[in-house]
Subunit: 296 residues, 2 copies
């Protein structure tokens, strides 16, 4: 059996797996996101040991936080560039993995990887134009359009769009260090905690945090609908595990569209249009494996 490696690089942890895809993960390991030297060292050790036990991997895919240089002809292809995680800025993530393990390596954003996994095995099966959004320590979006992942000049950084912010209603100034009150600065997990002064996990379901959160996320969803016209929007990440957000977001989206878009896929079945990932928290690492498989 041909085996593949997958690496999901996140702000808090790196998830590594060996297998072929959904339903067939042979081994898995999770490492805290420390310095690149320490964490990448742990990852390399994991895959080295796995290859000793299981035989050589045909390829490794990486879905990582970014921004990442994804231009194949660039001298810094596969590097994390200007990340707010300063230890990781200018880290040649793909190159370090490839040079240590001598295995072909593919890399894309964590959210593009999750998008591929959901397209192959999950909530975006049969679709060619959709968005995978994650709402957690940050907000990020991956997109497939006409069957191809979107990169463009860099890759989408959807969480950083500017949205209306009523300071009278919500005096919190936002916590994005680049843009203050962009969507991520208003609606990421850390923004919720800073605004309300408590762990998001510990806020009760009827805390006013959630209706405000749903409004901001709906503004993002509406802007993505108008900009890309996706067939579906998948919303994952730690914050979206508060599933009461989904009906709140859906109602806000309909209110904000206000009849301008009359497609039945949206107005008649919004709960099937804005959905959680079918693969749950596995979308990232499964997508990384799918990225590896796409090399061949």
């Amino acid at each position: 059996m041909t085996l593949w490696g997958g690496i999901e690089g996140g702000g808090n942890k790196f998830v590594c797996a060996v297998g072929t895809g959904l339903g067939n993960i042979v081994s898995e390991a999770i490492f805290d996101t420390l310095t690149p030297e320490v964490t990448i060292g742990q990852i390399v050790n994991f895959f080295t040991e796995q290859q000793q036990h299981l035989g050589p991997l045909k390829g490794i895919g990486i879905g990582s936080f970014g921004p990442i240089d994804l231009h194949p002809n660039s001298p810094t292809f596969g590097s994390i560039t200007t990340s707010p995680k300063l230890d990781w800025a200018q880290t040649d993530l793909a190159g370090m993995i490839k040079n240590s393990l001598h295995v072909p390596v593919a890399i894309d954003t964590d959210v593009n990887a999750a998008a591929i996994a959901e397209n192959k095995w999950g909530a975006a099966k049969g679709l060619d134009t959709f968005i995978y959004l994650t709402v957690g320590t940050g907000i990020g979006g991956g997109a497939m359009i006409n069957g191809e992942l979107v990169h463009g000049l860099l890759h989408p950084e959807m969480g950083h769009i500017m949205v209306p912010h009523d300071f009278a209603k919500d005096p919190f100034t936002g916590n994005c260090e680049f843009h203050h009150n962009c969507l991520e600065g208003l609606a990421s997990g850390p923004a919720i905690e800073k605004r309300w002064g408590g762990k998001a996990d510990e806020l009760s379901n009827d805390h006013p945090a959630w209706s405000l959160e749903a409004e901001y996320l709906a503004l993002g969803v509406v802007n993505y609908i108008y900009t890309i016209s996706p067939q579906r929007i998948i919303m994952g990440g730690g914050v979206m595990r508060r599933t009461q957000l989904f009906p709140l977001i859906c109602q806000n989206v309909l209110d904000m569209l206000n009849g301008y878009i009359q497609l039945p896929e949206i107005v008649k079945s919004i709960n099937d249009y804005v959905v959680p990932p079918a693969l749950g928290s596995k979308a990232g690492v499964l997508g990384a494996i799918a990225l590896a498989r796409r090399m061949f």
Copy 2:
């Protein structure tokens, strides 16, 4: 010589042309946008006469205001759907042209048509991922991503994104009949006129209207950059003929990005990143001809 027809359908006028593309337009006619019966009748008469003089057209392309049903398998394919121009809602524009002239007809949005023309002959030559934005009686955007036009579930309606609006600084409530203060409601030509109480054409270059306009348009540009990561953004339409807007928009975009995006294509050459259409006001009708040519 194989000849093609192009129809650019706008809120104020329909531009019709016969030819092969840039530099070879054999004949042209412009009709006011009245009722569908009257205007489509004039268009059909024009092309009928042209075919009598020049021989049969191989195909006709239409780039039209919308929303338009662009799903090939839909029973209402080629119809204008829920347009704010009420006379035109539910008008089978493509069907009426095709059935009257018995010529193959292609249809897309006016902005997707302009995007194709700029890609083939203008400011987007050699690019595969870019946006064509028009700022005039409305605000609309077409997009090519990875070399393909974006349609998705419907097609982009980029002008209707929600952007920050500081009521203390700008008390105008916006004039979009669906969303009030979406980007179109704040920054279209009619919004400028309603806010300042005078024809936009008659406002002097140093009128405060333009710095405010540039701020709103820059918010749009920034949101499109973060959502799609285009290689270039082309901005046309009547309002953008006030070319002093370009440097103002560019400076605002850089200020708003605030160093998060450090791509030299943006930060070192923003004036080559946000640009006017190379084809000027001809982009739409040339794109319509290009749409016709793409059928074969």
